[in-house]
Symmetry: C2
Subunit: 342 residues, 2 copies
Amino acid sequence: MDDAAFAWHPLATPEGKGWPDEATLRRYDRLPRHAEGRVSEDVWGLSRMSSSLYSRFRTDATEIRARWRLGLEQLAMWHMPNVAVSGLDLYGESEPGSWRWVGCAAASGFPEAENVLVTGLDPADRRYTVYFGLFNRLEDIEIGVPEGASFELVPADPTPPVVYYGTSIVHGAAASRPGMTLPAQLGRRLGRPVIGLGFSGRGKMEIELAELIGEIDAALWIVDCLPNMDADLVAERAVPFVQTLRARRPEGPIVLVEDRTWTGSWAKSSQAELSEAKRAAFRAGYEKLVADGTPDLHYVEGETLLGQDRDDTVDGSHPTDLGFLRMTDRLEAAVAPLLIKS
Amino acid sequence: MDDAAFAWHPLATPEGKGWPDEATLRRYDRLPRHAEGRVSEDVWGLSRMSSSLYSRFRTDATEIRARWRLGLEQLAMWHMPNVAVSGLDLYGESEPGSWRWVGCAAASGFPEAENVLVTGLDPADRRYTVYFGLFNRLEDIEIGVPEGASFELVPADPTPPVVYYGTSIVHGAAASRPGMTLPAQLGRRLGRPVIGLGFSGRGKMEIELAELIGEIDAALWIVDCLPNMDADLVAERAVPFVQTLRARRPEGPIVLVEDRTWTGSWAKSSQAELSEAKRAAFRAGYEKLVADGTPDLHYVEGETLLGQDRDDTVDGSHPTDLGFLRMTDRLEAAVAPLLIKS
């Protein structure tokens, strides 16, 4: 790639991050340094993936490039392409507060990647959001614009964020690109930062996560862990998890989300029964918490998170962009009124 | 994988194929042997990819496996994962004529792949459809079921097919898995075979393709080539292409489909103008054909094929499952009434 006429700009602290840079070991870590050793090793490893982190900048460039350094050699997964796992996704502000997709870039290699995010833009001075790869570690990134084009960082949005804690589904499996995850879509819909703390294969209401997400001065917390738990674990952990979070954050809605229905469960009654049992345990925990006087607690049922055509996951479990759009519709409907009220 | 207790069954001639086995060089070729040398080399190469081909079988197995041999070493692409490019996708018949997703499998290696398609099924005797990889060559495939489980091939559906000719979008970029392409989705909706003749980077209304698709005794033809053509090429080729097809097939609807709107074109007026120009040329060709008395010719506008959120492609051009579902909605609405009438 001919970079002769390009100027390269580093980005600032990413948005969608729950802690300031000085609290984390590395800029693109999703958990703070004091979480190391306190969360399990695999959660810690997953917290170093740049899922749900993004940066904003303003430029009048007609072409935007990126070069970035990755920490994990596996650039793609069997059900997710390079651009989602290790790439970048770019949205432009088409009207004030309205963000539309405009470009993306796959990782050209490891550890160094360089690619064009978008070219052929009409000359216009606008703000952009770049979302980072979902299942890789971002070590560093620079944005390139033609020499002479303007470039400035956009200050972080001070609106109190939503915290979204969960499993691989919140982590982003299986979005087609980084801007289509639940936290990313919900963030654009709600017009405020969504801190995505999804941990693939984990996200099991570990009590230390209740303590950690309780450190974030958020407007609302979403807890979406059932896909990786069974009924016994839900019965054991749901109530203390919410009590711990509520004790640290006496105010602000807490939204409990059931597991989405497995799309192949029409032919597998064992899967359907598993869902039924864990939902019953979750519902019972929710009702106990409400009966005990836990304030501002909300509950979203799992059955209508995905569509009735059962065609919106890649593998029975992980939503495609189609599934994520439908889930975002449901979650926005549940969450937006709570944020207006608050 | 422990295959000790599995019985392996070859599949028959795939469905979704426009010519009988004896007319093609290889079982999973999409064009007949007499097309070699007549179509361009790249179209010929692309015609050997198993996009839109599928087979059906009936079994009472509770687990279904597959082993298959691939012809191309590249198992994934930057914007499409292994399971879509080289994998398999399985639907089961949940009610008579109604097919629902139940399992999928990525290619475990090259050239030989083996994987579990689905496990944990309730005991039930039902029909299954397995769709083949979109951007790889399928050399051979066997389905494995536990010893003692029933297995029989389902005879090919004799319903006159729809032929869908086009570009990479018809070819399947960028579906999450093989069952989510336009031909696959449309086939399930319409309840009849759809022969997908999408050619990535090609599909430019080459006159020899009009002759070739005119060989197929179809109920309806869809021509969806604009994404890879400019206005001049459309002006040059659209009328003779349709005339050639109509001459070979005097009866049956021919549906002309405009290009979907580039999702990044809100920020790139050059892209929007390109679409506008080629659509105008296509519309003019259509009107000339109608004025000349060409019967049963239909026209679908491009602007509403995808959604107004512009979030339904992976790269501005190629629809994700979200985009393909929306396009299928539009195409079904356009095509289904024509098939009922015919």
